[in-house]
């Protein structure tokens, strides 16, 4: 692999993790993000399930991108995604019934997760399989990071634990609001604030350097 191709692949990979992070930058797929991020374990398993579906379906969509007629492409993507979601659904059920019940309908709802459909439409249907899968991998790692960031904060404040391990001893005062839906919105807002503050600081720094680097 030439150096340029390598750099481009790395770029594709990093895009989802940082510059186009689905949770913090694009603010996509908020439904599972807010609903299942009550604890770090839930968030992580939801993220991994989404990762599997995203990578596999992007690979498959990319493979058949030249033979799918334009008019039925969305339906085709949905069928492909639904297949992998069914696989994930059964796997989670087999591995841990507890997590399966905690995640509830949100596993099935991965089918209509806009990150996955968006990647299939915007990226996988226009790129070769390897690139598409690398990009999907980056995106889903970004999604996992986002989910974990929310789930960890909500679990630490809402229950005083992380991955079920007590952090503050038995005398901890749980913040009830954090495990309720408003807590999800408040924590998400806090993270978005942090990211936009970082972005602004970077812009200010770039402007101070003489407006280099494009914009």
């Amino acid at each position: 692999m030439s150096e340029i191709a390598q750099a481009r692949t790395f770029d594709e990979f990093m895009e989802g993790i940082w510059r186009q992070n689905p949770v913090f930058v694009m603010v996509l797929g908020m439904c599972p993000v807010l609903a299942v991020s009550v604890s770090a374990v839930n968030a992580l398993s939801m993220g991994l399930a989404t990762m599997f579906v995203l990578v596999c379906s992007c690979g498959l969509v990319s493979l058949i991108r030249k033979i799918v007629p334009k008019e039925v492409r969305i339906a085709t993507y949905i069928v492909i995604i639904a297949t992998f979601v069914t696989v994930v659904d059964y796997v989670i059920q087999a591995v841990s019934l507890e997590i399966y019940e905690a995640l509830g309908a949100f596993i099935q709802l991965i089918v209509v997760n806009c990150i996955i459909l968006g990647r299939a439409e915007a990226h996988a249907s226009k790129h070769p399989p390897l690139t598409a899968m690398v990009n999907a991998m980056g995106m889903s790692i970004g999604f996992v990071i986002g989910l974990f960031a929310l789930g960890a904060v909500r679990e630490v404040l809402g229950a005083g634990t992380l991955f079920g391990f007590s952090l503050f001893g038995p005398n901890f005062q749980p913040w009830v609001v954090m495990v309720l839906p408003p807590g999800g919105f408040i924590v998400l807002g806090g993270w978005l604030l942090l990211f936009s503050a970082l972005k602004r600081r970077k812009e200010v720094r770039l402007a101070a350097q003489g407006g280099g680097h494009g914009a």
Partner: protein
């Protein structure tokens, strides 16, 4: 020596009134209320007021420093938020939770919307709503007023370590020979035990060992000072208290003994404090006089409805927050008619007045109406 002339449009008369002046006067009028609160509950209340206000000011400073916010620390608005928030919290509220309340009041209630004057909801109540949702047990834990040794000893729950659960005040009170009922608020007592506190005791808050806030009489006096100096519109508290009293009286008249009398409703809980100091927040209440009546009426009715028919003993906070949310709508439907428009113009048409004797109408003078031309540019024939 040249005289500089400045030419400006109206208004030409500059009043000394400014945001700082109004806010400072609200702070002065709050000081007696705070002092009474400290007299009731001792150093725990003093520490609570100081810590909550300090955390509000620190949060305000942090957000104002970002440069995206209107206002500054010196306009006293964050001080008011802190004082009011502390007055709505139980005196033995853990201090670290007070810091959370103060920070979230400014962050969620004010900075989120862009600073002073832009906030949709009363910041103090947003802070209280946040800690009510986060720590429902701690915010419902009151202690009786006028405890012996309140100026030398903290209420044990005040001094909880950060993030840790507060100490149990029930055991502490039992050691002082108080029963558990002494630390229930009058509203909670009525709602869950069915016992009614005399309205007179509530009015002064001077009777010993009741879990009540500062005296309603004192708050009304301080509010009257503000209203007389026109730092606050008297219509809003009048509407809130009037409609709450009327609703409670109607339900009392119809429902009878099942419901408490209207005076109990008026003087218990935070209704007076809410009506005088929180519903009147300038940024979050309507500016139209008719709108103020509608807004106050809505808050009063909602307060009584929440107190009677919900699981919560107290409803002033949510009533005011709902009223704040409805403020833009209320302002829209109660726009005053500008002079010369609307009803007055109809009245003038229907009125008959004698003409000047020298007046000759166009018809009498035999004037012809000019011919209307439909095609402006039609060439003359």
């Amino acid at each position: 020596m040249t005289v500089q002339t400045e030419i400006r449009s109206a208004p030409h008369i500059k009043g000394p009134r400014s945001v700082e002046q109004i806010m400072a006067n609200v702070v002065y009028s709050l000081l007696p209320v705070c002092a009474f609160f400290v007299y009731q509950y001792g150093i725990s209340a003093a520490a609570s007021i100081l810590v909550v206000t300090a955390s509000c000011l620190l949060a305000e400073r942090a957000f104002v420093r970002t440069g995206t916010q209107a206002g500054s620390l010196s306009d006293f608005s964050a001080t008011i938020t802190g004082l009011l928030l502390a007055l709505t919290l139980p005196p033995g509220f853990p201090l670290w939770m007070g810091v959370v309340a103060g920070f979230s009041a400014i962050a969620l209630g004010k900075a989120l919307f862009g600073g002073i004057g832009f906030n949709v909801f009363n910041p103090a109540l947003v802070g209280r709503a946040f800690v009510q949702a986060a720590f429902p047990a701690a915010i419902a834990t009151y202690t009786p007023s006028f405890l012996p040794g309140r100026f030398t000893q903290f209420i044990p729950s005040s001094l909880a370590w950060p993030l840790m659960a507060p100490a149990d005040t029930a055991a502490w009170l039992k050691a002082m020979h108080f029963d558990a009922l002494a630390s229930a608020t009058p509203l909670a007592k009525w709602k869950f035990e069915g016992t009614l506190t005399a309205a007179g005791d509530l009015l002064t808050s001077l009777a010993g060992h009741m879990a009540v806030g500062p005296s309603p009489v004192l708050i009304l006096v301080c509010g009257a000072y503000l209203a007389l100096r026109r730092f606050m519109d008297w219509r809003i508290p009048a509407a809130v208290l009037g409609s709450a009293g009327l609703t409670a009286w109607l339900i009392f008249a119809v429902g009878g003994t099942k419901y408490p009398d209207p005076f109990f409703m008026l003087f218990s809980g935070g209704l007076i404090l809410g009506a005088v100091y929180m519903a009147t927040d300038m940024a979050t209440s309507p500016v139209t006089p008719r709108g103020m009546w509608v807004y106050g009426g809505l808050i009063g009715v909602l307060t009584v409805v929440i107190r009677y028919y919900s699981g919560l003993p107290e409803g002033v906070m949510y009533a005011i927050l709902i009223g704040n949310a409805a403020t833009p709508l209320i302002e829209r439907i109660t726009q005053p008619t500008p002079f010369g428009k609307g009803a007055s113009i109809r009245a003038r048409k229907s009125a008959s007045y004698t003409l000047h004797p020298d007046y000759i109408s166009r018809e009498e003078a035999g004037a012809k109406t000019p011919k209307k031309r439909f095609f402006k540019n039609k060439p003359k024939q």
